[in-house]
């Protein structure tokens, strides 16, 4: 079985995001970019399934500009067998990303697609679910545990009420939550090895994906700031302050 992994490059989660003063976007020039943390988890899970013998091949997919190659090399260094780079100059919205992934699914026929539950730039939390819908296959979102046997994925999902367990017949789409695993670190020799691994480059235009411009972002703003409050010196003063506000 093949596993396809969504591997998006985003602004690193440690970067303090600045909104451009003219409201046209956020500052990304010179800012550190990294793999979406949920996608590292997706890749780690795929690699573990390969190590267990459940899968033979792990393919990382990145949709993005021409310079995405270095990022995909990281995925290969982590252990993916090969990469697919869908070259798109502009950022794609989740529905378009899902349609692109569907084209790749049709071509590669994976038994499993693992993507992050959300990309930490757009925080959309949509692509995996949309792919599952278009593919007409099961989805198991917010996974914190995955067991695969006899063509069925038993997935524990982190939901608001607690932990939900579902069974999904393969092929299926899984989206990762943070506690699914801890991604491995890339070792230097692996970076060397990754140089020899193949990256398939596909121009977005050649995939004949229906474009979708239903949403236009017209303005970016910084969130309203919470102003710095007061410091109290002891427990009694804190209780008094809260009582005064009518909170206790």
């Amino acid at each position: 079985m093949k596993i396809l992994v969504g591997y998006k490059r985003v602004v690193d989660y440690n970067v303090r995001i600045q909104v451009k003063p003219d409201g046209t976007g956020v500052v990304t020039d010179g800012v550190k970019l990294s793999a979406n943390p949920f996608d590292d988890i997706a890749l780690e899970e795929a690699l573990r399934l390969r190590e267990k013998g459940v899968a033979e091949e792990v393919i990382v997919v990145g949709i993005g500009p021409a310079d995405l190659t270095a990022h995909l090399r990281n995925g290969l260094a982590m252990g993916a067998n090969r990469a697919i780079h869908v070259v798109a100059a502009e950022a794609v919205q989740p529905l378009t990303a899902a349609r692109i992934l569907l084209k790749l699914v049709e071509k590669e026929q994976p038994g499993l697609v693992i993507v992050g539950k959300q990309a930490i730039d757009d925080d959309a939390n949509q692509t995996g679910q949309m792919l599952a819908a278009l593919w007409d296959r099961p989805q198991a979102t917010f996974a914190s545990k995955v067991e695969i046997a006899d063509g069925i994925a038993k997935v524990t999902r982190e939901v608001d009420a607690g932990l939900e367990v579902i069974e999904a017949e393969l092929p299926a789409v899984i989206t990762t939550d943070l506690r699914l695993n801890e991604p491995r670190f890339i070792k230097l020799p692996d970076i060397m090895k990754a140089k020899a691994k193949p990256i398939d480059t596909i121009e977005l235009a050649t995939l004949n994906v229906e474009s979708n411009n239903h949403l236009q972002t017209t303005h970016y703003a910084a969130p309203p700031k919470r102003s710095k409050g007061i410091m109290v010196k002891d427990a009694a003063e804190l209780v008094a302050a809260l009582k005064q506000k009518g909170l206790l």
């Binding site: 602004v11 303090r16 995001i17 909104v19 956020v26 989740p94 529905l95 899902a98 539950k117 930490i120 730039d121 925080d123 939390n125 679910q129 949309m130 792919l131 278009l134 296959r137 989805q139 917010f142 914190s144 038993k154 999902r157 982190e158 608001d160 009420a161 607690g162 932990l163 939900e164 579902i166 069974e167 999904a168 017949e169 299926a172 943070l178 506690r179 979708n212 411009n213 239903h214 949403l215 236009q216 972002t217 017209t218 303005h219 703003a221 910084a222 969130p223 919470r226 710095k228 409050g229 007061i230 410091m231 109290v232 010196k233 427990a235 804190l238 209780v239 809260l242 909170l247 206790l248």
Partner: protein, 314 residues
């Protein structure tokens, strides 16, 4: 004119308060109608609750055994069919809504607006990106159905009272898949107030140190009638179950009082409490970032301060 279909969230035969919050957002669109769709095996009690909410025009029900558990693959084709004729489909941005709404949007071939925090006009919304570090204004195409999830912390629950909407059973001819099956829900049993709707929340972080020590947090929360929350570090370390996590990847909440105890204040945690009324921070490190946003800060050891707080309360 807009016609809005709101997808009801429920558990164990009870309507989840997130539904009334999604209805608030629907009201902000000033639509002609707001219908609520209840999908369950037995819809009666849930529909009766939804019918009481002010602003609801009609409660639509689809009672099928397949709808006993909220499996997105099973619910989405029914919702997509029911959505025909509506200009908007809203669901709460809870794990339920986040799971099912994009599947509906894809079946309808439309984009989704996630985490709507304000409605500017019928097709213009504000939503957070980058863990709430930027707020964007998005315009949806007026020629397509708008599918959106509603950031519950940004909206008060629509009031419950005078409403007496008619309840109408829908019978749709939709084939449902059997490729996805519910196995079980391991639900934390608790008599404490619900984290997502509580007026007061006491949260503990890594500073609490252990599962045993977390009893101090529970005890203090009980004393002031608060729900209990936690940072991701506390959940990862196994001090508390996952459903207590507050933040970007946990619950986004807006209590009147939020007390962060032994929590440093990482941006991913702060995302979850931006809309809280009053934030109190207790931390032994005077430099902890949580103090930059706290309304009231107290520097000190939590193991010393919590007993003192309890003392001061009596």
């Amino acid at each position: 004119m807009s016609k809005i279909l709101v997808i009801a969230e429920h558990l164990n035969g009870k309507l989840n308060p997130s539904t009334a919050r999604a209805i608030s957002a629907a009201l902000a669109v000033k639509p002609e109608t707001i219908d609520v769709l209840v999908l369950a095996d037995n819809t009666d009690a849930i529909a009766a609750e939804a019918a009481k909410i002010n602003g609801v025009s009609t409660v639509l029900t689809i009672a099928r055994t397949e709808n006993a558990h909220p499996l997105a693959a099973v619910l989405a084709p029914q919702i997509a069919k029911a959505a025909i004729g509506y200009s908007h489909v809203f669901a709460p941005s809870t794990t339920f809504g986040k799971d099912v709404a994009p599947r509906v949007a894809a079946l309808l071939g439309v984009a989704q607006v996630s985490d709507v925090m304000s409605v500017e006009s019928s097709h213009t919304f504000k939503r957070p990106i980058y863990a709430g570090n930027a707020i964007i204004t998005v315009e949806a195409d007026t020629n397509h159905t708008v599918v959106a999830t509603i950031r519950t912390a940004s909206w008060p629950a629509a009031t419950n009272g005078a409403g007496n909407a008619p309840v109408q059973a829908l019978s749709l001819d939709v084939a449902l898949p059997s490729h996805t099956r519910f196995v079980e829900l391991q639900q934390g049993k608790s008599d404490r107030p619900d984290l997502q709707s509580a007026g007061k929340v006491v949260s503990g972080g890594r500073g609490v140190g252990s599962k045993e020590n977390f009893e101090i947090i529970y005890k203090f929360a009980d004393k002031i009638g608060a729900a209990v929350g936690a940072s991701r570090a506390a959940v990862d370390a196994g001090y508390v179950p996952n459903e207590l996590q507050v933040g970007q990847t946990g619950k986004i909440i807006a209590p009147e009082l939020y007390m962060a105890i032994g929590i440093s204040g990482a941006i991913q945690h702060l995302t979850g409490i931006k809309d809280a009324g009053t934030i109190v921070a207790i931390n032994k490190d005077a430099e902890a970032p949580i103090f930059e946003i706290a309304d009231i800060g107290l520097v000190g050891d939590l193991f010393k301060l919590i007993p003192e707080l309890e003392q001061a309360l009596t």
